[in-house]
């Protein structure tokens, strides 16, 4: 097993090195053969990393405990799907997943561009294979997933019970699809720089990739927070932990990039800025991978210190140094073809949106690495509390939310006051009405920030609705369709625009969820005897019965609670605590009852021998909307990223893709 896996990775490394060489040879004119050879090498590398993945999975599924990664992260009694996900539970395994996704994407890029972007492809292949070399090198010589143990243990250590959760099966792969996917636009950007083809072609070639990678990263982050919410038992889903920040920063910069490329496509501006953003995005994705492995920053998810840190730092330095040098060398070619005409125009709003996003990303970055900086500069490790992040993220977040509504309604180039009045009159009216209604019938304004978010949400919602409405009216006026048909045609006509608006709607819903659950959470601890009732946030909790069970692996204690609101029973909730004998590990199973209005979240803290139960209760309003927002954003992203019919695309068309894309 070990030998097969190691051999596959070494061969992958060799093939990737050859791929770079062949791709660089292919840059000379008339060297088509070299290019075909380089692209063959890309497929080969993907095949070899796939073989390594398959070997690792086989080892995990068949309990090959002579492998360290199998022995330390699984045990023979583990369910098969957790054995599969144990692959990314270990450091080396997660690197293997990174490399596998990267080489898979590389193969897909080569296949999809076999008749397009021919002059960019040699460098694209070289850059992608360069990244692959780095990862396969680490996997072969620094942190091998196929390391064997001197003495083979009877059984494995088992997977940390915290990780035995469906969200942990799916969260890391999604996150990596996002991280790694961001490498593709980076490779195209580098190719455009090297080949001096700095028109908008490289951007439209990787548009779909960028949106998908961005979407995967976002959904990955949301699933991670959902996991934290359901497993960690402190009633929240986001704590500005370094590991969370590590994924959040590239997402922020990628968001900025997705918006500012539109300015380049439309107005030929911000070329240098866009190049810098894509370099920054990819560097931050690498930095995120580095942060979670280097052990330089203490975190809830605490990854032990490892020797990989230095390698990653060197690689990030090479990536950033190389691309910055390239950008500087090409500066004369990156000049804008237009300049900003007005501060009230679409492109100006995009600029504000970019400054806010990058500002936030910088603030998060600063807070994340502050302990390292202070230790280097002053010798003491000083960290910033959550208050720092909250204080910065709140005003920037609200400003971004408002821009989400403003942007699409402001015309390009220059907006006349008259046009602004016409477009914003109705949304502002609706916002005013909503703000008053919120004040009269809900406690929304008890917390001014939350009130502001809700009012802004109403504003953005009405702005986006008015955009849809204008589009639908036009489609309907063209005739031949019903009103719902007009909406469908709208989406079909301009997927990116209307899919994007759907993503914006999702963001609005997301903010509603954040505001509700941040500002209006109530919690309380109860100590109850059987039959007794206690009260938290106007809800009554009655301790109905308890249970104690044990099998060979674990013991379970639990209580059943009846929940009453205004005297009526609304639910029976069953929080549990498991105790795993093998590693003396406690594992809390939180009971959550989710409704659109609020979540009731109960942690069983303990059940004494005498039957006294201690529970922690959290009542978190509107949390469910965060997950609903995730679904809306995923749908919007899919619509926006769905490949367009080729005839809409300028320049090179690929007929074979036409049928696939149009279906």
């Amino acid at each position: 097993m070990s030998l097969v896996g190691r051999a596959a990775l070494l061969l992958a490394l060799a093939a990737a090195v050859y791929g770079i060489y062949a791709a660089l040879r292919a840059r000379q004119p008339g060297q088509g053969l070299w290019q075909r050879s380089a692209e063959g090498a890309v497929y080969g590398v993907f095949g070899l990393t796939s073989a390594a993945m398959a070997t690792m999975w086989l080892a995990l599924l068949t309990d090959q405990f002579e492998l360290r990664n199998v022995a330390e992260y699984t045990s023979s009694s583990l369910d098969w799907w957790f054995k599969i996900s144990a692959l990314w539970g270990s450091q080396a395994g997660s690197l293997l997943l990174w490399a596998w996704i990267l080489t898979g994407f590389s193969a897909a890029v080569v296949y999809l561009n076999r008749e397009r972007n021919r002059e960019l492809m040699p460098v694209v292949v070289a850059v992608l294979m360069g990244i692959a070399v780095f990862f396969t090198f680490l996997l072969s010589f620094i942190s091998s997933p196929f390391e064997t143990l001197a003495t083979v243990p009877e059984d494995g250590r088992g997977l940390n019970p915290l990780l035995q959760n469906p969200y942990m099966v799916i969260h890391p792969p999604l996150l990596y699809l996002g991280y790694v996917g961001l490498g593709v636009p980076f490779a195209f950007a580098m190719a455009a720089l090297v080949e001096k083809r700095l028109d908008n072609e490289w951007i439209s070639s990787v548009r779909t990739w960028t949106i998908f990678a961005w979407g995967f990263l976002g959904i990955g982050i949301l699933l991670g927070s959902r996991w934290a919410y359901e497993e960690l038992g402190w009633g929240g889903y986001w704590a500005w932990d370094p590991v969370e920040n590590a994924a959040f920063m590239p997402w922020l910069v990628a968001t900025a990039f997705l918006h500012s490329v539109m300015v380049q496509e439309r107005r030929g501006m911000l070329r240098i800025w866009n190049m810098s953003l894509i370099v920054l995005t990819f560097s931050l994705a690498l930095f995120g991978t580095f942060l979670t492995r280097s052990g330089i920053i203490a975190s809830v998810h605490a990854f032990g210190e490892s020797t990989l840190g230095v390698w990653f730092l060197v690689f990030i330095a090479v990536v950033m140094g190389g691309s910055v040098a390239l950008i500087i060398a090409r500066l004369p070619l990156l000049r804008s073809s237009h300049s900003l005409e007005s501060f009230i125009s679409r492109e100006a709003v995009f600029l504000y949106n970019n400054l806010l996003l990058i500002g936030l990303a910088f603030a998060v970055f600063w807070g994340t690495i502050f302990p390292v900086i202070s230790e280097t500069a002053r010798g003491t490790r000083i960290t910033v509390g959550q208050g720092y992040y909250d204080q910065i993220a709140m005003p920037i977040g609200i400003a971004l939310l408002i821009l989400t509504g403003v942007g699409p309604l402001i015309p390009w180039r220059k907006a006349s006051l008259d046009a602004l009045r016409r477009r914003f009159l109705i949304p502002l009216g609706i916002t005013a009405v909503a703000a008053v209604l919120l004040a009269l019938f809900t406690p929304a304004w008890d917390n001014w920030a939350a009130g502001l978010v809700f009012a802004s949400a109403a504003f953005v919602f009405s702005c986006i609705s008015s955009e849809y409405w204008r589009g639908i009216k036009v489609q309907h006026a063209l005739g031949g369709v019903s009103w719902p048909g007009a909406l469908l045609r709208l989406f079909a006509k301009n997927r990116r625009r209307y899919g994007g608006y759907l993503v914006h709607l999702g963001i609005v819903v997301l903010f509603i969820g954040f505001a509700g659950s941040t500002a209006f959470t109530t919690s309380g601890d109860l100590v109850l005897n059987q039959g007794q009732r206690g009260e938290v946030a106007g809800l009554e909790f009655e301790y109905e019965s308890s249970l104690r069970e044990r099998d060979e692996h674990r013991g379970t204690v639990g209580v059943n609670l009846r929940v009453f609101e205004d005297g009526d029973q609304i639910a029976t909730m069953k929080p549990r605590t498991n105790f795993y004998f093998a590693d003396e590990q406690r594992s809390t199973e939180i009971a959550i009852r989710s409704t659109p209005q609020r979540d009731i979240y109960i942690v069983l803290v303990g059940l004494s021998e005498g039957g006294v139960a201690r529970i922690s209760v959290f009542v978190n309003p509107l949390v469910m909307w965060i997950w609903i927002a995730g679904v809306i954003i995923a749908i919007g992203t899919t619509i926006a990223a769905w490949p367009r019919r080729r005839r809409e695309e300028p320049v090179t068309a690929d007929r074979r893709e036409k049928t696939a894309a149009g279906s």
Binding site: S143, N160, S299, F303, T307, E341, I382, T383
Partner: protein, 145 residues
């Protein structure tokens, strides 16, 4: 040219505002990482240490009671002990020998932690160093059990 001047002014104002926000937010939120031997009364620390053996098995329940959870921690390097009092949510991974981080202040020789501030560091995740699985120092029994 006038638009360029305005543009630069706008960017500078934005940078200044951002810088001020950063500075203002940072001011109130600083906490120093320290081991048991390094904390002094009067300021807030993030105490990073190992749980000494003999930590109560019913820790979560004690942490919720009025008296709070009392336990000892040891310095990761020199093994110097410190008594801690804590209330709030106890992570599942809390047990003898675990590395934890808690935020709080030293009062009368006891480290009084802020509510819900305990974070446990899971030793096995993403580590390629076998010794990470075992505590770095021997854990003397200072909790007296």
């Amino acid at each position: 040219m006038r638009s360029r001047v305005r543009f630069i002014t706008a960017i500078s104002v934005a940078l200044l505002l951002g810088g001020w926000l950063l500075y203002a937010s940072l001011g109130g939120a600083l906490e120093t990482y320290a081991g048991p031997g390094e904390v002094q009364s009067g300021s807030t620390y993030r105490l990073n240490a190992l749980v000494a053996s003999g930590a109560p098995a019913d820790a979560p329940e004690r942490a919720q009671s009025a008296e709070g959870l009392r336990f000892s921690v040891l310095d990761k390097e020199d093994g110097k002990p410190l008594e801690v009092i804590y209330r709030g949510n106890v992570p599942d991974a809390f047990k003898d020998g675990r590395e934890i981080v808690i935020t709080g202040e030293l009062k009368n020789g006891v480290f009084e932690a802020q509510r819900n501030s305990m974070v446990t560091l899971c030793p096995s995740k993403f580590s390629d160093n076998p010794s990470d699985h075992e505590p770095l120092v021997d854990i003397p029994d200072v909790n007296g059990t």
